[in-house]
Amino acid sequence: MNRRNFLAAASAYTLPVMLNGFELKAMTGQSALVQSLMASGAVQDSLVSDRVLVIVYLNGGNDGLNTVIPVDQYATYQSLRSNIALPQNTLLPLDGTSTMAFHPSMTGMRDLYNSGRLTVLNSVSYPNPDQSHYRSTDIWMTAADANVNLTTGWSGRYLEDRFPGYPVGYPNTQMEDPLAIQIGYNVSTALLGSQQSMGIAINDPKSFYELVGAGGSVSPADVPGGEAGNLITFIRRQQALAVGYAGEIKNAFDAGQNLSTYPAESVHNDLSDQLKIVARLIHGGLKTKIYFVSLGGFDTHSGQILYNDPRIGPHADLLGKLSAALWSFQEDLRLQGTQDRVVGMTFSDFGRRANSNASAGTDHGVAAPQFMFGTAMKHRTLGQNANLSDLIVSYGNNKDIKMQIDFRRIYADILKDWFGAGQPKTDSLLLHNFPTLSIFSDVCETVASGAWTNPATWTVGRVPTATENIRVNAGHVVTLGQNTTVRSLKLYGKITYSPGVRLRITG
């Protein structure tokens, strides 16, 4: 919480007295008072109770190496994929780094990065990567180990834990809104609970309400036995949820507004159309915790560029859509004043092969950069550039990018720090203890003993910069071989200095 919000919230504590006789419940959910109370409650749970996660699925496996380009290794990059390599002078430079640049279509994401509202997470994958679309996506959505099948989604497990018993008894006064909403006609595996999806699908909040109507008489609850009975019960619940939520969603949609300019409908940017709805629902006060949106077409086996010009073609169009959509959405949240309680993340089936194929496309690969967007992340880059001289070489001299960040570390920070689930709960939801990535912490911590200059020493997966805060955790020994500057240092472990080497702390 920033200072201004804190003051506003603190002064709000006295307001209920002045509003003697009025129940807070009678006020609209989006009133400044209710919002500030929700944002400033004394206990941890209410502090994070209005926080929202937006999941953006890039369907098909995005070609990460043509998304975030390691310009420090340009020649190697060019030689790996000469038929689709982006010319160096077309790349978009980024503030504060000379080693990394964006695809030329990504102007909106560059602006978000430069204004501290976009984080690049490098080389995200998981151990024993799978290159089947279905299986790999399933692994991402369920957060399973690659050799384990899970039938529940990672965010579905979180919601099921937080809202037990759903959907029986929902909506209710504690949670009158859908727990999760997927914009579209399907609900993703990521939202699956143990019995059914914890989310609902809506394509268009306006037509949804008209379509569902007011409900009407409810038939007796008798069900036949067996599988048929299970299905009938399931369908009746879907019917009841549709009726139960349609009004709330419509109210939020009517109360909310989009304040930024989105790509025109004629552009057919599916993703921005979806995010536009999400922003409006958030602004309208819907308490939904998780939104799931997607953009398809990333399975670019062939012809990902056009006319031998790597700047144009299907992949450039997709990145352009992603970039424009995230920019409009984030600007919308900023203008609405909701940006501090929303974070978003992208994910995709897998990255694509580092070397291109002869069809001006790329086959299924391993690691790729992912993004987080919002104002809550404390670092603009996590992990470092993919090392193109240290690739996984397989049969046929194919080359894949190695993992730096296990995607489940992103989930762990989101559950623990963003949703406030706490460490033990986070571990149990993700079935392992994953070290933090410090996504939401401005402190770079050690995860192990090692050289200061070894990226693996640090939670952020790279060497800390001079403006970052450092914490050497208990039991860790960091060896410092050259003069180094940091903002602050908390020393619970040990630093061993080479002779004459100094650590300067700017404070």
Partner: protein, 548 residues
């Protein structure tokens, strides 16, 4: 639990309806009557007898274009009409699913199974002639031999386009088809214990076997033919050795004009020899026809023996005997499997059209009405996440592979859209052609139930005939409507709350007789019409109508 042993009892009405619901897109009442009293073996044979593998071709359905009602596939490729002709092929196929010969055939339901197995899509293939050839290939092989089928699909121009086989060349492999051939078309990604069925290197190796296949004349305006060709110069002639998952099989490298076919034959043999391939296909057929939920018990007692039979020397990968065995089995007719699948949009929409006897206009002579009917149904199916011939991915429609299986057809949005469709059958606002609005004329239907219609019993005519009661009306509506039976509490609710809106049931008798006495009086007609519409509208919105 009965398994693959033949179901020997004579089919009662419910069993006949069950078979027809599963093997076709939904029966008419007349078909159920025809099938009642047959043995399962006779009934399944009937479903095979009328398989039309070469139906008349689709026609121009745009009345403003040249030669409406005439076939277009025998004419040179017309790029300007590419999208529309693709749509007409979709409507043509939906027409075949809906308009059945008598007795109905199981071919179209099975062709859809294979189209959702060997997926290609109109949108990606993008040449209507390719789409047509692909669909005809599926029809011709649906009941044929799986070895022949896989081989033919691999070389099919639509498939070469959809999974980039066309771009797979020696030294420049494109792995797309090689992967899906294994993961989706033959052995599947994992065995039931969760072990991988092949390695990543096997994908790359299979891609090399498949190098050199191309198609000709794609999107060539004015061209009158197109074909698959094998280009020896683009084929990888070196030997290809697979992993232990395939018993370390080596496929000898070949060169020359026959290299492609020879290596493909070896590859298909290797794929069929994989111990999971027959099981993978049989499991998918079981999920399609019987129950998406495959328990370890089902795996052992149905999938494994059926797969053994499928791959046995005697059967040698013939598909028809496997389908027959499954549809004839005790497991298929088992009560526990009735109502165990959520209707797909095809089963809901086309099934409703068939169940309520909505006529399919003649495609050749009444092409505008034909187009309008299937435009409507296609668009509605697309909204409900079943875009005919345009699956979202190569995996096919999500409810056939995703956790939860056919439950995935139902969510808050599709539930509402389904209601909107069934409501359209009640309100009858969609005009197929003058005089034919899609939907059920509930009053005419109830009138047909009333014996001795004009002879109304009353104090002045004590020898007249009693009115049909609300109970009779509901019972008549319910005949074969649902796969499961309703409880008495539900029936009472439907009559008292929905049909009679909490006024006494006897009011119906007065209202109905008033209509009988003055059947052209619009007020007298409207009262029972309104009640019947409320009732049928509610019935079609019930969860029970959406499982089969």
């Amino acid at each position: 639990m009965p398994f693959l042993d033949p179901y020997t009892a004579v089919l009662d009405t419910r069993a006949a309806a069950h078979l027809l619901r599963r093997a076709t897109f939904g029966p008419t009442q007349a078909e159920i009557t025809q099938f009642t009293g047959l043995t399962a073996a006779q009934a399944v044979q009937n479903l095979l007898n009328n398989a039309v593998t070469t139906p008349p071709p689709p026609v121009e359905m745009d009345e403003t274009a040249a030669n409406p009602g005439q076939p277009f596939l025998d004419k040179p490729f017309n790029g300007d009409r590419n999208f529309q002709f693709g749509q007409f092929i979709k409507y043509w196929w939906l027409g075949l699913m809906t308009q059945q010969t008598a007795p109905p055939s199981l071919l179209d339901k099975l062709t859809l199974f294979w189209q959702n197995h060997f997926v290609t899509t109109r949108e990606v293939v993008d040449d209507y002639r390719f789409v047509d050839r692909y669909l005809r290939l599926l029809r011709a092989n649906a009941l044929g031999n799986f070895r022949t089928f896989v081989t033919a699909v691999t070389k099919d121009p639509a498939m070469l386009r959809y999974l980039n086989g066309n771009e797979n060349e020696a030294g420049k492999p494109n792995e797309n088809y090689a992967r899906e051939l294994q993961e989706l078309f033959t052995c599947g990604a994992f065995d039931p214990a969760g072990n991988k069925n092949y390695t990543e290197d096997d994908v790359k190796t299979a891609a090399r076997v498949l190098t050199g296949w191309q198609y000709t004349n794609f999107w060539t305006v004015g061209s009158t033919s197109f074909d698959t060709v094998f280009v020896p110069a683009k084929h990888d002639t070196t030997a290809k050795t697979f992993s232990a998952k395939y018993n370390s099989t080596t496929i000898a490298g070949r060169s020359g004009a026959t290299a492609g076919d020879l290596e493909l034959a070896d590859l298909v043999t290797m794929l069929l020899n994989h111990p999971q391939t027959a099981k993978f296909i049989c499991r998918k057929l079981y999920r399609w026809y019987v129950n998406p939920n495959v328990t370890p018990d089902i795996e052992t007692n149905i999938i494994e023996p059926l797969a053994q039979f499928f791959a046995s020397a005697g059967n040698n990968w013939a598909i028809q005997p496997v389908v027959v065995k499954l549809l004839n089995s005790q497991a298929f007719f088992d009560e526990a499997n009735r109502g165990a699948i959520v209707k797909s949009p095809a089963e809901l929409l086309l099934g409703s059209v068939r169940f309520f006897n909505q006529p399919v206009p003649n495609m050749t002579t009444d092409y505008v009405a034909f187009r309008k009917l299937f435009e409507f149904l296609h668009w509605r199916m697309q909204n409900l996440q079943m875009n005919t011939l345009d699956q979202p991915t190569v995996f096919g429609f999500e409810p056939y592979f995703q956790t939860g299986y056919t439950k995935n057809w139902m969510n808050t949005t599709t539930v509402a859209l389904r209601n909107d469709f069934t409501d359209a059958l009640i309100w009858r606002w969609y005009e197929v052609k003058p005089g034919y609005n899609l939907g059920v004329d509930v009053l005419a239907w109830a009138t047909s139930l009333q014996p001795d219609f004009a002879n109304v019993k009353s104090t002045t005519n004590p020898t007249g005939t009693d009115p049909i009661s609300c109970v009779q009306v509901l019972d008549a509506f319910l005949v074969n409507l649902f796969a499961t039976s309703l409880f008495q509490t539900q029936k009472d609710f439907l009559i008292d709350k929905i049909m009679m809106q909490e006024i006494p049931r006897t009011s119906w008798n007065f209202e109905w007789n008033a209509y009988r006495a003055d059947p052209t009086n619009s007020y007298r007609r409207n009262v029972p019409t309104w009640r019947l519409q409320n009732l049928l509208r509610y019935l079609l919105r019930m969860a029970e109508y959406h499982v089969f």
